[in-house]
């Protein structure tokens, strides 16, 4: 299996002497559905920022599809839902407008949308089940529906790697389960590599093939079946250590 992500001996600190990540080795194959969990402040978001090339490791190397992540040329194939994704500004952007924003990197940067853009936007909205709400302002939707709109935005760019950072923050339990099922369906249908980052496994634990527990370094990496009982609550990663 070829690798989508490869971190070798990655260490990182925002300030000298304060390491957020220490000697992290992580390899994610193409087409995997992986959950990365750990306590708040455990370096998960930083880890993903390094994976996506938004930060460069202080030590070690980060590769995306074999290229240095910060210089990765195929960025249009990356989908990212940042922590607490919400529409910026005051203008009431509709679901369709948000999803269309996902075509900007993949299609023509300037000028009008192309017919292909429209088709892919409609398809992405359909995949996340928001057809009936396509022209509704995103702000009027529930937290779970808003996350679906942002997932559709990422899908519109036809990503090969989709990273979701804490996608269930502020989302009720029922919507979390529904979101996990949606991701599992997308993974099965599209074969996209999905990295789901959260402080808890929550609903996604039953859908992923692999769990990674991070607390400054990787403390567990394997099948959910092999996870020691106490670690089912990632908050315990801290206590265990």
């Amino acid at each position: 299996m070829s690798l989508a992500v490869e971190l070798r001996g990655v260490s990182f600190g925002y300030r000298p002497g304060q390491r957020v990540l220490e000697d992290v080795d992580l390899a994610l194959g193409e087409g995997e559905f992986v959950a990365v969990a750990g306590p708040n402040g455990g370096g998960k978001t930083t880890l993903m920022r390094i994976v996506l090339g938004l930060e460069r490791p202080s030590e070690g190397s980060a590769l995306l599809y074999g290229e240095p992540a910060h210089r990765f040329a195929g960025r249009r194939a990356l989908g990212y839902l940042a922590q607490r994704s919400q529409v910026g500004g005051d203008a009431p952007a509709t679901v369709r407008e948000v999803v269309s924003a996902g075509r900007v990197a993949s299609g023509r940067l300037v000028g009008r949308r192309q017919p292909d853009d429209r088709r892919l936007v409609d398809e992405a909205i359909h995949r996340v089940g928001l057809d009936a709400l396509a022209d509704a302002p995103v702000r009027t939707l529930s937290g779970g529906m808003q996350q679906r709109a942002f997932i559709a935005k990422a899908l519109a760019g036809q990503p090969s790697l989709l990273v979701l950072d804490e996608p269930t923050t502020g989302v009720d339990a029922e919507s979390q389960e529904s979101l996990a099922e949606l991701l599992a369906t997308l993974h099965a249908d599209l074969g996209v590599t999905i990295v789901y980052v959260s402080h808890e496994f929550g609903a996604v634990e039953h859908h992923v093939e692999r769990l990674v527990l991070a607390r400054r370094t990787i403390v567990f990496d394997g099948s959910p079946r092999d996870l020691p009982g106490i670690w089912h609550d990632p908050g315990h990663v801290h206590a265990r250590e």
């Binding site: 996506l52 090339g53 938004l54 960025r75 249009r76 990356l78 989908g79 990212y80 839902l81 940042a82 994704s85 529409v87 910026g88 500004g89 005051d90 203008a91 009431p92 952007a93 509709t94 407008e97 948000v98 269309s100 924003a101 996902g102 900007v104 990197a105 993949s106 940067l109 300037v110 000028g111 009008r112 949308r113 022209d135 302002p137 942002f150 935005k153 990422a154 760019g157 990273v163």
Partner: protein, 265 residues
């Protein structure tokens, strides 16, 4: 009113700036950079002063200063040399201080300077109008071409950055567009009020719109209406046109607030 050429020129200049200022301001407001236009105005003031001192066109000098100032702010922010508002403050206050020093050197603390500070739409000449029309058309064409990437950055800047959208270049383009708009609007509403025409119609439109695109279009309609109504009211009531245009835009915002309140009920 229309039999006077100076009024025809004033209305035409007001209409162009009334459309352009909110169109550019739209993206600043959505990115929580409402005061960017105001700050660029401070830098433009230094340009006006330099123009008077060096005996070149103050508008041209203001345009050059404003574009360079806007790009400097973006570069300072992008390279992490200063946080967003600190970069803004650094360039703005340097601009106004430089303006004060240059004005004193030129001995120009007089009516000539005041027309740039508060606007002098009634003295717009045919030559001025040609410049305003050409640069205005260029600005609107740039916004039309760059609408989608600008909107993508407003909607989700981090997601756009990861997907390889050239955020830095787009920010510099928006800064340059803001600078051009400020330089053009100086004759219409003046340096001190230019930001109001970039922000108030956008804020009003945001209350009434049903989508991002409709918000942008409504903002330009309100800007256009404010300019035409403002110049007309100023003509009949013998008021300063720049201030009147901005007061009409502010009144539109209050009306939009009232409409929203009624809708909620």
């Amino acid at each position: 009113m229309l039999e006077s050429e100076f009024m025809r020129l004033a209305l035409a200049a007001g209409a162009i700036v009334g459309v352009l200022a909110p169109a550019v301001g739209f993206f600043l407001v959505q990115r929580r950079q409402s005061l960017f236009g105001d700050g660029i105005g401070h830098v433009a003031f230094a340009g006006v002063a330099a123009g008077i001192l060096l005996d070149v066109s103050p508008v041209l000098a203001a345009l050059v200063f404003a574009v360079l100032g806007g790009i400097a702010i973006e570069l300072l922010r992008a390279r992490g040399r200063a946080a967003g508002d600190q970069a803004l403050a650094l360039v703005f206050y340097t601009g106004i201080a430089l303006g004060v020093v240059l004005v004193a050197q030129a001995g120009a603390l007089n009516v000539d300077l005041f027309q740039y500070l508060f606007g002098s739409i009634l003295t717009v000449t045919r030559g001025d109008l040609v410049t305003i029309a050409l640069l205005g058309a260029l600005g609107l064409a740039a916004i039309t071409l760059l609408y989608r990437p600008f909107a993508a950055v407003v909607i989700d800047e981090e997601g756009a950055r990861v997907a390889g959208v050239p955020i830095g270049s787009l920010n510099v383009a928006l800064a340059a567009l803001t600078a051009v708009t400020v330089a053009l609007s100086m004759r219409v509403v003046g340096i001190l009020l230019v930001a109001a025409l970039m922000v108030l119609p956008v804020s009003a439109a945001g209350r009434l719109a049903w989508s991002m695109r409709s918000s942008l279009v409504l903002a330009t309609v309100i800007g256009f209406g404010s300019a035409i109504c403002g110049v007309t009211i100023a003509y009949y009531a013998d008021l300063p046109p720049g201030g009147t245009i901005v007061l009409v835009a502010a009144a539109t915002y209050l009306v939009a607030l009232a409409v929203t309140a009624v809708r909620v009920r």
